[in-house]
C-alpha cells in the first residue's frame, strides 16, 4: 500500500502541472476506450454478477452492479461532460498591490492525492477518476469487492486513455484486491494522501471517519425540512412540499420533515393530506396536525431525527418562524432546508439563520445537487463545514495558495 501511495504522490506532481488540453484529451480517450471495449466490460461485469448471485447478494445490489451497454454509454458521456467543463487549476484571483509594494493574490491548485472509497456501482470508478484528472489530482480508488472485475476493466480503459494523452497511468490507481485490510492501510497514508472521499452508506462513512488519519469529506444524513410560513402562497407550498417528498424517496435531498405555521394549517393541511394520500405517503404528525389530518399516525420524538429515505413524512405545526428555525437547529442535519413564504423579512432571516449547506426560499429541496447548481458534476455532497460544504464539484477537489510578486522587495 505504501508503494501505491508513493506512486500516487509522484504522479500528482505530473498531473498537477499538466496542461488543460492534455487532461481533456485523456478524458475523451478514456470515453472512447470504454465504448470500444464495451463487450469486454460486459463480460468482466458478468463475472461479478454471477459471483454476486452465487453469494446471494440482494437484488437491489445486483441491479446497481449491472453494467449494461446503456450504462457504459452514460459513463462515456459523463467523461465527455467533464472534459467540457472549465479547468479550475491555475486560476488567479484577488491580485492586489499592498502598501509594501508586493502584489498578492491566490492561485487555485490541486489538493494532490485523493483517496476514494466506494461501494457497489462500478460507474463511480470512471466518474471519480474523471473529476480527479480534470482537477489535476492523482487518485487511489478502492471500490466494492463485489465489483472488482468490472472496476479493473474500467481502470484498464482509464490507464489506456491517460497514456494516449501522455499522462502517467499512476494518476489513477485502483486497489485491485478484495482484502478488507487494504482500506485500513489506505487510511494511515497521511503522508501520501491529502483527503479521503467515502461514497456509500452512513455505516461506511462513519467507520472511515473514525479510523482515518487523513481528513475526510463526509456526507452524512439528509434530514431536510420545509417550513411553510403563515404568508406562503398555498399553491406553491403544496407543489413544493409534494415535489420535495415524492419526486424520489431514497435520496438525501428529499424532505423528511414538514413544518407548518399554525395560522395556515387549516387551509393547507387537508390539501396536503389529500396529495400525499394519492402518492401513498405515510404521515407521522404532532397532535395539533392530527386535528386536521386525523388519519396521520402519532409522531414520536425519534421521528424528528429520522432520515426515512422512504414514502414517510413527519409533520409538525409550529407557532411561526422562530419555532421553525429552532426545530431545524435541534433536529436538522445541516443538509438542505427551505422556507415557503411571500414575506421578504422572514425569507431573509431564514436564509441567514438556518445553518445548513443549502438554504432555500420557495424552491424544492430536491434542487440540492451539483448538476442543478451548475457545478457540472459532483463527487458527493458534504455535510461538513470545513473546506467543501454542500455539493462538491471540481472546485472542492482544489485549494488556493497565495502568490506574491515583487521586484526585489524585502520586509522592513
Amino acid at each position: 500500500m505504501a508503494a501505491i501511495g508513493r506512486r500516487a504522490r509522484h504522479a500528482a506532481r505530473a498531473i498537477g502541472r499538466s496542461e488543460t488540453a492534455a487532461k481533456n484529451q485523456a478524458l475523451l480517450a478514456i470515453a472512447a476506450e470504454l465504448e470500444r471495449r464495451s463487450g469486454h466490460l460486459g463480460a468482466e461485469n458478468r463475472k461479478d454478477l454471477d459471483a454476486g448471485a452465487q453469494r446471494g447478494l440482494e437484488a437491489a445490489l445486483l441491479e446497481r452492479l449491472d453494467l449494461t451497454p446503456a450504462r457504459i454509454g452514460t459513463m462515456a458521456e459523463s467523461l465527455r461532460q467533464v472534459a467540457a467543463l472549465p479547468d479550475p487549476i491555475g486560476g488567479i484571483s484577488d491580485m492586489t498591490y499592498r502598501p509594501s509594494g508586493i502584489q498578492v493574490g491566490r492561485m487555485r491548485v490541486p489538493l494532490g492525492v485523493i483517496g476514494i472509497i466506494y461501494e457497489s456501482r462500478p460507474n463511480v470508478t470512471a466518474d471519480a477518476a474523471a473529476l480527479c484528472i480534470k482537477s489535476g489530482n492523482a487518485c487511489i480508488l478502492r471500490g466494492g469487492s463485489e465489483a472488482l472485475n468490472s472496476n479493473k476493466a474500467i481502470a484498464d480503459c482509464i490507464h489506456a486513455g491517460l497514456e494516449q494523452a501522455g499522462l502517467p497511468a499512476d494518476t489513477v490507481q485502483l486497489i485491485g484486491t478484495a482484502d478488507r485490510a487494504a482500506v485500513g492501510a489506505l487510511l494511515q497514508l497521511s503522508d501520501c494522501i491529502d483527503v479521503i472521499v467515502p461514497r456509500g452508506g452512513r455505516g461506511l462513512i462513519e467507520r472511515i471517519a473514525a479510523e482515518s488519519r487523513i481528513p475526510v469529506i463526509k456526507h452524512l444524513d439528509g434530514i431536510c425540512h420545509i417550513y411553510i410560513d403563515a404568508d406562503a402562497d398555498t399553491d406553491q407550498a403544496v407543489r413544493i412540499a409534494v415535489n420535495a417528498k415524492t419526486h424520489r424517496y431514497g435520496v438525501c435531498n428529499a424532505m423528511e420533515t414538514l413544518l407548518v405555521a399554525e395560522s395556515i394549517a387549516a387551509e393547507l393541511l387537508p390539501r396536503l393530506a389529500a396529495a400525499y394520500r394519492e402518492h401513498g405517503v405515510e404521515l407521522r404528525a404532532c397532535a395539533k396536525t392530527r386535528d386536521w389530518i386525523p388519519e396521520a399516525l402519532i409522531a414520536t420524538e425519534a421521528d424528528w431525527d429520522t432520515e426515512y429515505l422512504a414514502p414517510i413524512l413527519a409533520i409538525r405545526i409550529v407557532a411561526g418562524l422562530d419555532e421553525a428555525i429552532d426545530h431545524i437547529a435541534r433536529h436538522g442535519s445541516g443538509h438542505t432546508d427551505a422556507i415557503i413564504t411571500r414575506d421578504f423579512a422572514r425569507a431573509r432571516r431564514f436564509l441567514r439563520e438556518v445553518d445548513s449547506s443549502s438554504v432555500m426560499v420557495n424552491a424544492s429541496t430536491r434542487f440540492a445537487d451539483g448538476f442543478e447548481y451548475g457545478l457540472g458534476a459532483e463527487i458527493g455532497i458534504s455535510t461538513d463545514k470545513l473546506h467543501a460544504r454542500g455539493p462538491v464539484g471540481l472546485e472542492g477537489l482544489t485549494t488556493q495558495k497565495f502568490i506574491v510578486l515583487g521586484d526585489g522587495h524585502v520586509r522592513g
Copy 2:
C-alpha cells in the same frame, strides 16, 4: 466541559446572526475595558509572573508572559483594528440563474464554535476572541496554565464588553482551570466545536492533532526556501536572501535553505558569504558550495529537513530550476518558497509547480503574514491544504453555504 460546549453552541446562534454594528461595539467596549482595568490586569499578571518565577520558568517564557502597560495598549489597539475590518458574514457571491429557473449562489457564514488552545502569551486571549466575535463565531479558549490569572482578568474585560453591546457573554468562554485533562475533554466535543486552532510549538500541535475528534487547523514547520535562478538580478538576490534569513530568526517564514543555480554561484556566493558573516549567520553547505565558501560547515542530509529558527542557513548548489523544484518537493514543508529570477517562463513555472501555501517571485519569504497580505489580522498560518491554507484571517473562520431562491420551483 460538556456544559461549556452546550453554552458555546447556544451562544454561536446568537453571535452568528448579530449585526455588524453590535459586534464592532463589543470590540470597542472590550478595548476600553482593557485600558480602564490596566492596573488590575497588571496586578493579576504579577501573580502569574511571581508563580512562574518560583516554579523556575525560563526567562524567555517569563518575558512572553509579561503584560506590560505597553502590551495592554497593543491589545486594545488590535481590537480596534479588528473592529475596523469589513464584516465577512452574510456576504453573497456568485448568484446565477440556472436553466431550471432557480437562482443559486453562496453566502458566507460563521463556522460556529472555535476551540483555541494556546501557550503562554496572554494577548492571544484578546486577539483570538476579537477575530471570533467579528466573524460571528463563539469560541472556547484554553490558555497556558502559567497565564491563568492574566487570562481570567482579560476574559472579564471581554465579557463586560460583550454585555455592553447586548451580546451573550458565553460567546467567549475561557476554561478557567489549570487541569490538563481539560484539553483532552475539549477535543472530544465534536458535537459542540466545529474546529480547533492550536497556537504554539510543534509538540502542542502534533499532540492535539493526534488526539482530536474535531478538525484541526494546523501550523507545522516552516522550512522555507529561496531559489536564486541563473538569471537573477544579483543585487536583488543578495538583498532578499539576506532579509529572508536575518530580518528575524525565530519566525516560521524565515528562510532556512538557500538553493543557488550553478552558473551564478561564482558571482553570488562570495558576496552572500560576506553578508552572512557580517550578521553572524552560520552556513552549512553542500560540497560544491564550499568551493566558493570554504569556511562553511559541511551540510548533512538532516540539514535539508531542519527548521533552524536560528542564525543558521543551509546552502545547496543546484543545476537549475528542475532540481530546485525537486529539492523543495522533497524537503520543503509547504509553507513559503521563493524564486529570484528575471526570466518570465521560469518565474511562471515556479509559481505553478511549487506546492506551498505561499509561493513568491522576487520577494522575501518574510512577507508571508496576514497583515502583509492585507487580511487585517491572522489567527495563525495553516500548513494544511484543506479549508484554510497560508495565513488565516477572518475568512478562514467562516464557510460558505449555498442559497437557492425560487418562485415555487420544483424539480421535474
